[in-house]
């Protein structure tokens, strides 16, 4: 009789523990809480990699491997994105046909503002990324939009990131249910498995950062946006955030979305928000 009640008590307390463990997740699913999400997201990486300095996560795979980091630091003396950076600087200063410039479209003339993108536009009810804002600026001034994935767009965003280096990411979520919905939608996209390989973004960049796939070291999701745009040796060129999303999808044999599709904008919003406080490091160089 005594053992039976002890057993019952034991299983009851086990059930309670199980309930206590699962309960916060249930609550989190019910209520969108970006502040708590960002804290949990950052703590996950800080605890998983206690030896990595917090501000170092923005250096992607180099934060995970000492040898690779040394090679990269040597390469940074003649960085492979330098061409794009120079081109971007020149493009940024060159007036449109109507005499206006990019500086007219951005707060503070577009200098040192990278850390505020993407932002949620409460008039439009949507996320506005830096790439989108640049093309809108062009169109508003009678110029044709650029391709979102590389070349001119990568050069322009490289220059804008460079002028913002070291500034902490500072993404705001305004008091608007649509902004919370965009954040939640981005989070959902990030954690949903898709494609023939059945990977989510998180499979590689939360579950396995620092691990190798063949010779390549997987980057941590934390701070991954802070380094955009990037020169990738694998691409033999520059690529934007749009390019990163599209190639991630196709490499895992999922159907990529159009650059700047709502889901991509939302996932960029989510990933940038959870990296708040970490410095802008773009443009970056990656293997």
């Amino acid at each position: 009789m005594k053992t039976r009640s002890a057993l019952l008590l034991g299983s009851l307390s086990a059930a309670l523990v199980a309930l206590a463990l699962t309960a916060p997740r249930v609550v989190a699913a019910d209520k969108v809480d970006p502040v708590a999400d960002a804290k949990a997201f950052q703590n996950f990486f800080f605890q998983k990699f206690p030896d990595v300095k917090h501000e170092d996560f923005v250096n992607g795979p180099y934060s995970m491997n000492a040898d690779l980091k040394r090679q990269w630091q040597e390469k940074e003396e003649f960085p492979p994105y330098e061409f794009a950076l120079e081109a971007g600087k020149e493009m940024f200063a060159t007036p449109f046909k109507n005499g206006k410039t990019y500086a007219d479209c951005f707060p503070n003339g577009g200098i040192g503002v990278r850390q505020n993108y993407p932002y949620f536009d409460t008039k439009e009810g949507k996320v506005i990324t830096l790439e989108l804002a640049l093309n809108r600026c062009r169109e508003a001034n009678g110029e044709a939009p650029y391709s979102y994935v590389k070349d001119e767009m990568a050069s322009l965003t490289a220059y804008m990131a460079y002028t913002s280096r070291g500034k902490p990411m500072d993404i705001k979520i305004p008091d608007d249910p649509r902004a919370l919905e965009a954040f939640e939608n981005g989070k959902r996209y990030f954690y949903t498995r898709r494609g023939q390989m059945n990977f989510s973004c998180a499979s590689c960049h939360v579950q396995s950062p620092g691990e190798r796939i063949r010779a390549e070291i997987l980057a941590p999701a934390l701070g991954i946006m802070n380094a955009m745009p990037i020169y990738r040796s694998e691409w033999s060129g520059m690529g934007t955030t749009s390019r990163r999303f599209v190639t991630c999808n196709s490499q895992t044999r999922a159907v990529p979305l159009e650059p700047q599709a709502d889901e991509y904008r939302d996932v960029e919003y989510f990933l940038s928000y959870v990296a708040n406080g970490l410095p802008i490091s773009g443009p970056g160089a990656r293997p």
Binding site: F199, S203, Q207, E211, R212, I213, R214
Partner: protein, 116 residues
């Protein structure tokens, strides 16, 4: 008259089968290894250390002593077909369920894995 031409054919097929059996087993092992290393197919090497493979990944456990770990080949087959059934958190793609590999290809890979 209709049945007659079939007879030599069947005999020939039987003879081929009997003669080729060991060679065929060997060739499925070789096919399995090729698939396991092929980036477009099994691509096991991307995540697992495998004897004979260069630049292996580190996500999954090393593939060795598999005959001792999984005496029943059906278990290996099931893992390759869809490991998410056993472990929903796994990164391993469901090669069979998502038709990355055919049943024969999975079987060849299992033949190869059992030699490790």
């Amino acid at each position: 008259m209709t049945a007659f031409p079939c007879k030599p054919a069947i005999l020939l097929a039987l003879a081929l089968c009997a003669g080729a059996a060991p060679a065929q087993a060997q060739s499925t092992v070789a096919d399995g290894q090729k698939l396991a290393f092929d980036r477009g197919k099994g691509n096991c090497l991307t995540c697992h250390i495998i004897k004979g493979g260069d630049l292996p990944g580190t996500i999954g456990p090393e593939l060795k002593d598999l005959k001792a770990k999984y005496p029943d080949r059906n278990e290996l087959t099931a893992i390759i077909f869809d490991e998410t059934k056993r472990n929903p958190q796994t990164m391993m793609p469901p090669f069979g369920r998502n038709r990355i590999l055919t049943e024969q290809e999975i079987s060849a890979i299992v033949d190869f894995l059992q030699t490790l």
